[in-house]
């Protein structure tokens, strides 16, 4: 069932197993799945990305931009009440965004705003109109203040950093009870501005590990779990009592190859590596078909901006060997691949290792905890950023901009591949400014061609987002990584 959007009946209690929020639930600092799931129960965004990656207006009713997309004007929804009592005004939105854009604030959204919007540049036009004056023109700006940037739930201007005290927001639910590290429950918000939530109640139980979550669903103790990776999740995929809500996402694992040193400094070697991958087999085997193949660029086919004309890279051992020969490493070489224990990455690494063996590339795996892998997350103090070859997880984004920028721009702060290319930088800059899909596609074609030639990063596949639910539960919107439960109910 691709869309489980059948309407459930109202009045149910929905029990959910999610990952334990890693720390205090605070919109400014939250960085993990568990925490953001908590945020979006009572909190709302200006707009929300949809399954087709378009934006749905929520607290904003509409938005527009000036000619070069450097100033964006958002109209706010009138009559929206905060759970704490006040009415949503421009000041609240400005305070929320400023809070997140303030470098002094330990804001997790800071990197998303970096180079796009600075503190103080959101201006009030009237009580229901806000203008954002960007640092530089940016065509996809609404995504930056949408659910894509999950810290951006709109809070009253008076918010003091004590979110766990009152769980303020404008959403369809309000908090019933919260016990840190144990769970939380919500009840319907009777004052919600839109359609009132169907469930009477939602109950979230926190789990540290995936397996107990799976067992809890199988054991009937919960009705759905937040996300299921295919690896390790086979038990549920075949379970007749479980319905899998499946949505295409742009989440993927980037395999970076250092372009500035080591065996991969020669782009022919990088291309050869890319040619060893049997991507169909990856999707069919590693993802059990729940995903789609990648073409070594961030442009997943779900992105409207993706260029439709670029040829798909296929496994070609002969050509790979030729390339290696040409690069002077026809006998193959040894290389270390460093990566993290997360989702199916270790298994992916094993498959890469086996693929590469066909052309004589001998990959030695070093698989470490996420802590160890990311280290201090700055160059020189991070296995992630310093390794010759590595695999890094990237979550779903509504637009490819983030993927195009930080990991690939010459001065990108996540540029583990150490890829430095002026042409690329210029193309991405231009892409950023462009707001119409046609223009974006033209640029995308150029970018994709360039990346296929250079291949600093392998994008082997994009995996689907899977939410297993108890059979009969309906109304969970198929939006990757965002559990909105207000339409949920059993049929």
């Amino acid at each position: 069932p691709r869309r489980a959007m059948a309407q459930g009946k109202p009045g149910d209690t929905i029990r959910v197993a999610i990952a334990t929020p890693a720390g205090a639930v605070d919109p400014v600092t939250v960085a993990d799945d568990g925490g953001l799931t908590m945020l979006i129960q009572a909190g709302e965004f200006l707009c929300v990305t949809q399954a087709d990656l378009t934006l749905k207006p929520v607290l904003a009713t509409s938005w527009s931009h000036n000619d070069d997309s450097s100033v964006w004007t958002f109209k706010l929804r009138p009559g929206v009440k905060f759970i704490s009592g006040g009415t949503l005004k421009a000041d609240d939105v400005i305070a929320t965004i400023d809070r997140l854009a303030d470098p002094a604030n330990a804001s997790n959204a800071l990197s998303a705003f970096k180079g796009i919007l600075s503190k103080g540049n959101a201006r009030k036009v009237d009580d229901l109109t806000v203008e954002f004056h960007l640092d530089a023109p940016y065509g996809a700006f609404p995504y930056v203040v949408s659910s894509d940037n999950y810290n951006c739930i709109i809070l009253p201007a008076s918010y003091k950093g004590d979110y766990e005290k009152n769980w303020d927001g404008t959403g369809p639910f309000k908090l019933d009870k919260f016990t840190p590290k144990v769970g939380a429950s919500f009840v319907r918000n009777p004052d919600y501005w839109g359609d009132k939530a169907l469930p009477d109640r939602t109950e979230f139980t926190y789990f540290d590990a995936l397996q107990p979550r799976i067992l809890a669903l199988q054991g009937g103790q919960v009705d759905l779990i937040d996300q299921l990776p295919v690896i390790g999740g086979q038990a549920l995929l075949n379970d007749p009592n479980v319905t899998i809500i499946r949505e295409k996402s742009t989440a993927h694992q980037q395999v970076h190859m250092r372009c500035d040193a080591g065996p991969f400094a020669d782009k022919r070697v990088r291309r050869a590596m890319a040619l060893t991958l049997d991507r169909q087999k990856l999707v069919a085997g590693l993802l059990r078909g729940y995903g789609e193949i990648g073409n070594d660029t961030p442009f997943a086919t779900v992105y409207p901006s993706a260029a439709p004309t670029i040829a798909q890279r296929k496994q070609d051992i002969a050509e790979a060997k030729q390339l290696l020969e040409a690069a002077g490493v026809g006998k193959g070489f040894k290389v270390n691949l460093t990566t993290e224990t997360y989702l199916e990455i270790p298994q992916y690494a094993v498959l890469l290792q086996n693929f590469a063996r066909a052309v004589g590339i001998d990959i030695e795996l070093k698989i470490e905890s996420q802590d160890a892998y990311y280290g201090k997350a700055v160059f020189g103090q991070s296995d992630w950023l310093d390794s010759t070859m590595g695999i890094t997880d990237y979550g779903h984004r509504g637009v490819p901009n983030v993927f195009l920028r930080a990991p690939l721009l010459s001065d990108g702060s996540w540029n583990a591949a150490h890829f430095k290319n002026k042409d690329y930088d210029a193309l991405v800059d231009q892409f950023g400014r462009t707001s119409d899909v046609g223009g974006q596609r033209d640029l995308a074609a150029k970018i994709e061609t360039l990346l296929l030639d250079e291949t600093p990063v392998l994008f082997g596949y994009f995996f689907d987002y899977l939410v297993p639910t108890r059979k009969g539960l309906a109304g969970i919107p198929p939006i990757p990584n965002r559990l909105f439960l207000d339409r949920a109910g059993f049929v």
């Binding site: 890693a22 720390g23 600092t29 997790n108 990197s111 970096k114 107990p212 054991g219 997350a377």
Partner: protein, 317 residues
Amino acid sequence: MLGLLLRRLPYAAVTLFILSLLVFAGGQLLPGDVGRAVLGPLADPRAVAALNHQLGADRPALVQYGEWIGRFVRGDMSQSFAFRAPVAPFVGAALWNSLKLGGVAFTLVVPLGILGGIVAALNRGRLLDRAIVLVGLSATVVPEFVSGIVLILVFGIGLKLFPISATPPPGAGAAVQLYYLVLPAIPLVFIVFGYIARMARAGTVEALDSDYARTAVLKGLPRRDVVMRHVLRNALLPTITVVASQTGYLVGGLVVIETLFHYQGIGSLIYTAARGHDFPMLEAGIMTVGVIYVLSTLAADMLLAALNPRIRAGGRA
């Protein structure tokens, strides 16, 4: 008795102090920092620095420790870095959970283990003895995650006799809570049974072979009286120490069981705190386990002294 307690208390305090120092020193080795741990790898370094500053985690280590210990001795466990809330309720809840699970396991395994050991000793060399020893040995050495998984499969998912989670629904009564704790307690019983049985067996064998047991037999006492009056009390003395040494594990060492059965105990609290660089939480968790351990060894010593007049009189053990 009181004298013994007063003599031992300073030692216990010193032990705990050293423990806190060790944890603190060890904490300095953890890679990364709390700001990065909270905000994730993709966060802006300025935000990370800001958070570290807010939490005071960027101050010199000794200053942090000084402040922490200063509060700790006044009974204040400080604020959690990750949760930015007082640590005490977290530790309290986790401890209470651990004590419940450990307590269930303890009350099951101690009588069982002692009985097993004594029965084995009284049947020394016979089939029953070998059977008990072998069962104890095997049960003790099979890791919890192996036995736990089997139990979950068979009784939780297969037969659906027991819940597979140890956490009862909120507001559950004592009986329900107990019902939820049965399955997770069993692997612990397995593990500890062997130790206790082995110790009880050895103690009983030794006591049975002792000269005073011979005296008792040669007095013409019936075997039952020899065992009950002369053997058991001496036989179980070493077992007490073993039981006490296991309480640390039963309370604080259950990371695997807590993970398998989804239970918020002190073991997982320590582990997540360490991974999250939540230093105050880590220290508090470890000190709690340390205090439990120290208290239980102290209790064991007192019990030993009560049962063994030789220790009662003598000075340091």
